[in-house]
């Protein structure tokens, strides 16, 4: 099985230096890209079927093609690598940043060439100090070697790249909030349209892509579209980083073909449940995805299959619910997070999430009423997609509404017994 994104990451916890990266084909993708026109690069990425790994699964080539041409809007134009990674239960971009920063940098230069951006940023969450250090040193190496700066490899294309470290808050990962943060402002999301591809960082065309998305790009250019498509088990291309946390034998992170089954990830890679614990359900792709249950265990983990069982791929990092953990308590923990991280910009989210949290706390403490469950349905409607300014609030309601669907009896038991049966 091929693992292009992670196979060269040193096992001793260090990162892949430029020399070693070049030895295994590093920067060949960039050389290839610079022989093509920007449009040809975009078409290759489109044909490869690369979908955004940040959560929404938006087609990467399509996103790039929405950027106006330089004739329409000249430089400055920007590319931003989204390394905020604050979705609860998500720990995938960390590995790519810490272990293979040149792969990301190469992907960013190719993406920037494709959209003719002259400047790019890595927006990195706080607390990833090792990643920051590796990135800074790798950027320095890339400048020294002529992969960054003026007239890259004699192509006439010039590009500057730097890193911004976030000062906290989950909402910074939302792309328009991220742009505000990068401009030194409060990280409230912006109205769309205009979309960032037209008017983003300081009003200039800006593409925001996830770290894992960009790390795929060099391989598409260096090894080709059909090879890339063959890596996957589904209609979209490539591999995916899948992770599992919770009460399993071997929590961890693995690069596997896109479309690997949930069962295989859980049982073979994560080693199954810890002795004495039963699988009850899971959030398949981070804190803002819907629960799936044992009956969905054979679902293929890809962008088109997971929605068929009522959830989303999200970030592809699974959080497991076991039989000794209270689902009401787990959802309460999630809604506490979302209520706290709401940026407060729009009313349904600012008011609705703290209300949701309070009701859940009451139920968990045995003070809940059956009417409260109906209020959750109303709140889910008030915070449905399109009713709020950004996707934080609808995402926040996904674990709750799916828990009510699959584990309703747990909520009812709390209410009837006036206590948490798991305590």
């Amino acid at each position: 099985m091929e693992r292009p994104l992670t196979e060269h990451i040193p096992l001793d916890g260090s990162w892949l230096r430029l020399k070693d990266y070049e030895r295994v084909g590093g920067y060949q993708g960039l050389r290839e890209a610079l022989k093509l026109t920007p449009k040809e690069v975009i078409d290759r990425v489109k044909d490869a079927g690369l979908r955004g790994r940040g959560g929404a699964g938006f087609a990467t080539g399509l996103k790039w093609s929405l950027v106006p041409t330089v004739d329409q809007i000249p430089q400055p134009r920007y590319l931003i690598a989204n390394g905020d990674e604050m979705e609860p239960g998500t720990f995938k971009d960390r590995l790519l940043l810490e272990g293979n920063p040149h792969q990301l940098i190469e992907g960013m230069i190719i993406a920037s060439y494709a959209i003719q951006a002259d400047y790019s940023y890595v927006f990195l969450r706080w607390g990833y100090q090792f990643a920051e250090k590796a990135l800074q040193e790798a950027i320095h190496e890339a400048y020294q070697a002529g992969y960054l700066g003026k007239n890259i490899l004699g192509s006439g294309f010039s590009h500057e790249l730097s890193v911004h470290i976030s000062a906290g808050r989950y909402i910074c990962g939302e792309e328009t909030a991220l742009i505000n943060a990068l401009e030194g402002k409060r990280a409230n999301p912006r109205t769309k349209p205009p979309f960032p591809v037209v008017s983003g960082f300081f009003g200039r065309p800006t593409v925001v892509n996830n770290i894992e998305t960009l790390s795929n790009v060099p391989h598409i250019l260096s090894k080709g579209v059909s090879w890339y498509k063959s890596l996957s088990k589904c209609e979209d291309g490539g591999t995916k980083l899948y992770g599992v946390s919770g009460k399993v034998k071997k929590p961890g992170l693995w690069e596997l073909p896109l479309g690997t089954s949930f069962r295989e990830i859980l049982e073979e890679y994560a080693g199954g449940m810890l002795d004495g614990y039963q699988f009850r359900g899971a959030l398949p792709g981070g804190g803002s995805t819907d629960f799936i249950t044992a009956e969905h265990i054979d679902v293929a983990m890809d962008y088109n299959s997971v929605p068929k069982v009522g959830s989303r791929m999200g970030t592809g990092t699974v959080i497991v619910l076991d039989d000794k953990t209270c689902v009401v308590g787990m959802v309460l923990n999630l809604e506490h997070f979302f209520a706290q991280e709401s940026c407060g910009w729009c009313t349904p989210c600012r008011e609705g999430l703290p209300w949701t949290e309070k009701l859940l706390l009451a139920i968990e403490e045995g003070r809940g009423r059956m009417e409260d469950l109906k209020i959750f349905d109303d709140l889910t409607r008030y915070m449905a997609p399109g009713h709020t300014f950004c996707a934080l609030a609808p995402g926040a309601m996904e674990p709750l509404q799916s828990a009510l669907k699959h584990f309703r009896e747990d909520f009812e038991r709390h209410i009837h017994e006036h206590r948490c049966p798991w305590k």
Partner: protein, 161 residues
């Protein structure tokens, strides 16, 4: 609190902030970086610092405070010599972070958001640290501690005098 007669921002710090906004169309773009710089020197951001930053960045003090209070890693109150930030997000919750938090609260005699009377530790809850496969996890200052067990906590705390 610093008194208003002594300046918080040194000439070097101001020069560093000027270097930050040089590349941007507006000075306010350096706001977050400037706040981080102040915090690096003083460990928190005082009212006086906000006032002085307002002059340098050509923003109102309220605008700066709006930014400073938005980001949870900018401290607008003094913190202890060591800051403990324990992850309270979902995977750490499933893996029992509450036991770790309860032990720390009891041992240090403080609640979340408080500092020990001797000024040694501040205890804060924090969102997912991106190391969920090794939960529960916490930061003490710049050090990440993972796979935490209650029995290890005394020994870990001793490393932070």
């Amino acid at each position: 609190m610093e008194t208003s007669t002594s300046r918080v921002l040194t000439q070097e710090m101001i020069a560093e902030i000027q270097e930050m906004y040089k590349h941007f169309p507006v000075k306010s773009a350096a706001c977050i970086e400037a706040l981080k710089l102040v915090q690096k020197h003083y460990r928190w951001v005082s009212d006086q610092a906000v006032q002085e930053l307002a002059e340098v960045l050509e923003m109102s003090a309220d605008e700066i405070d709006g930014v400073a209070t938005f980001y949870n890693l900018i401290f607008r109150k003094p913190v202890g010599r060591h800051v403990i930030m324990i992850c309270d997000s979902v995977s750490c919750w499933v893996m029992g972070y509450e036991k770790i938090a309860d032990y720390l609260k009891k041992k240090l005699g403080i609640q979340f958001g408080e500092t020990t009377p001797d000024g040694r530790f501040t205890l804060l809850p924090i969102c997912c640290l991106g190391t969920c496969d090794r939960a529960p996890a916490m930061f003490i200052d710049e050090d990440l501690h993972r796979d935490l067990k209650v029995e290890q906590l005394d020994e870990i705390l001793e490393r932070y005098p």
